[in-house]
């Protein structure tokens, strides 16, 4: 289920894409059942924070370099960047409220 507020990043554009502002990146794959569970939460965050937070997804099958660069060894993993710096790593499933608290710290 695609959401209009959620972008798609790739290995090619990742570095530039997280350079500005607060960016939440969801690492996922088709075969990952927990990733599918997290997807609606991520989509809702994108809608709630529209304009204040960039939300993007990285398909790890198609983009193996980026997860390896950030030592992602399990999915779903969410990384939060602020002006290019990695600020938060959230592994596994979390509730929308818990994720909001983590995001709010950096806005």
């Amino acid at each position: 289920m695609a959401s209009e507020n959620v972008k798609t990043f790739t290995d090619a554009d990742f570095g530039d894409s997280v350079k500005n502002g607060v960016v939440l990146v969801d690492f996922w794959a088709e075969w990952c059942a927990p990733c599918r569970r997290l997807e609606p939460t991520v989509n809702q965050l994108a809608a709630d924070y529209n304009g204040r937070l960039t939300v993007a997804k990285v398909n790890i099958d198609e983009n193996p370099m980026t997860p390896s660069k950030f030592m992602v060894r399990g999915i779903p993993t969410l990384l939060l960047f602020k002006n290019g710096d990695l600020k938060e790593t959230v592994v596994g499933l979390s509730s929308k409220d818990d994720l909001s608290k983590i995001i709010d710290k950096h806005l």
Partner: protein, 322 residues
Amino acid sequence: MNTDRQVIIIGSGPAGLTAALYAARANLTPLVIEGIEAGGQLMLTTMVENWPGYRDGIMGPDLMVELRAQAERFGAEIIQGDVDSVDLSKRPFTLSVGKTRYTAQTLIVATGASAKWLDLGVDKKLSGRGVSTCATCDGFFFKGRPVAVIGGGDTAMEEAIYLAKLATSVTVIHRRETLRASKVMQDKAMSMPNISFVWNTDVVDIKDVDKGEVTSLVLRNNQTGEQSELAVDGVFIGIGHVPNTRLFQGQLAMHDNGYLKTHDGSRTSVAGVFAAGDVQDHIYRQAVTAAGSGCMAAIDAERFLAEHESDASSTAVSEARA
């Protein structure tokens, strides 16, 4: 959405969704609060070969999609979210999900069980950095690398078999001398050339927290006390489950191991609260027994409502007056 309900079901595994199916067919329009781990443990499995009626097996996640659709077909309402607190001191029971409050004349607890961690502290720190409780989620990252699996039950064997197809080697570390896993799973694991077993051994440490990735395990033979180190890039924990009962502490009677106590079918220590599935079953723990107990809970809830119809309507009248 109507937040005053005849039946609320917490959990959306085989127990919760079967309870929803039966309650929906009894015209009770149940509300299912699915929880963070929606779909339950079957969402993390691959082929389920012991669910009756599928001679060739069915994929766990596919089975849950079917169960969910079947419950919805008859009018069950399923919402995302995790219950933050419950008040079971009086009927209707109150539940909080984020900022929303729900009330329920009857409650079916089907919150299941979650994977147990090692209790080393370091395993959680390295979660997603090489330590995992889900081979089907994270096995991908260990293609062509050596990994270990901790445990000796069906979960551990399933993880080992799955990982053996990806990893160079899979070392199963078990604290006993024999496996607890079913014969079929044992034979399958034993037949794979790149799975080896280390018996009578505990994991005492996982390295390397400073590097932020798994590099090795420190092992201790529990017969001889001898310590050794095993170099691996990933470690998968399959040592069992803990029931998700924290929400009900002090409100529902539990066994010493934290599982909910039930009596006379699915009844808990509070009248009107029923429990189904792994949250109350530390013996069988099968998808099909969970589904069976979900059915029992729905029927018990339906009968309870019928018996208490008069006091439910009197509550409604007094609320209408107030």
